[in-house]
Symmetry: C2
Amino acid sequence: MAHITNGVEYGIHCLLWLVYVDTEQPSSRDLAELQGVSPSFVAKIFPKLEKAGIVTANTGVSGGYRLAKSPEDISMLDIVDAIEGSKPLFDCKEIRGQCAVFKGDPPRWVTGGVCAIHNVMLRAEKSMRDTLAQETLASLSRTVGQKAPRDFDVRVRSWLQERGQARGRASLTRKLGRPPDAVS
Amino acid sequence: MAHITNGVEYGIHCLLWLVYVDTEQPSSRDLAELQGVSPSFVAKIFPKLEKAGIVTANTGVSGGYRLAKSPEDISMLDIVDAIEGSKPLFDCKEIRGQCAVFKGDPPRWVTGGVCAIHNVMLRAEKSMRDTLAQETLASLSRTVGQKAPRDFDVRVRSWLQERGQARGRASLTRKLGRPPDAVS
């Protein structure tokens, strides 16, 4: 499995839709179906994004998710960390003190400070994280937006509005026990 | 599991011993036991390092491994790639064309070129790889060497020479069916 998993890929794609929305508050199912991916998988990702302060959730029939802050203030690193949790690039087993020459009693010069190999890996990880921190949801959205035709955001909002209305109708039907169109 | 696994950690530690050796050609078992780690695990790593042109192997009783080139010419990235193989940081599933708005027929502007999310991940991976490429086995060895007392390399070489001699004696015993000291 790759270090940055497909949960991040799905999460970023769905978050990009939240940059487009206006008053709509799509559910994680709406976002998953808009993106054409598994709703149950996406349903597990959004609580992590909410916990990390990237999205906020409103309950109720018309409730759903929206971005908790400006997309300028949400970096790719924020999203990766929210979804992946604490997952180091390299998990040092500290074997440096096990050299047979030390006969089970490694001197302080061996075990003090960070292992030199671990240190290289930490620097590599920092380089990776710095790059992810430089890209925001806003800049990514602009990159995608430059490719899209002018009416694309309208079509996306329209799709989400229809979904929201369908949810409302379905809820009313459940409440009244008959189609809302039949309400006199 | 971390992206860069403990096979790399074990491999680099063992390769660092090969920077110290002079005429000795330690086996992978010698290197593993010098480092105090599993010989069977290290035995699986060295053929990968050999295939990547980082070490060369000589067969025979006194045969073993030595560096195939100067430690200045062996980067951490060379070692990681040799041991881990091709393992991307992020495995893009290309879900961008699955948006429901496209109704199963994504336009060219969506699917052309590299996915914008994948592109960010590729840049993050490049940053990580560039950092690993900048550090060599020689520079890492110097970092470790600066911490070690002056006689440390002598002690390591002495340990390896004793192991080599023990291997030679054991082989002669097997060949003659009696201890080599008893050979007239």
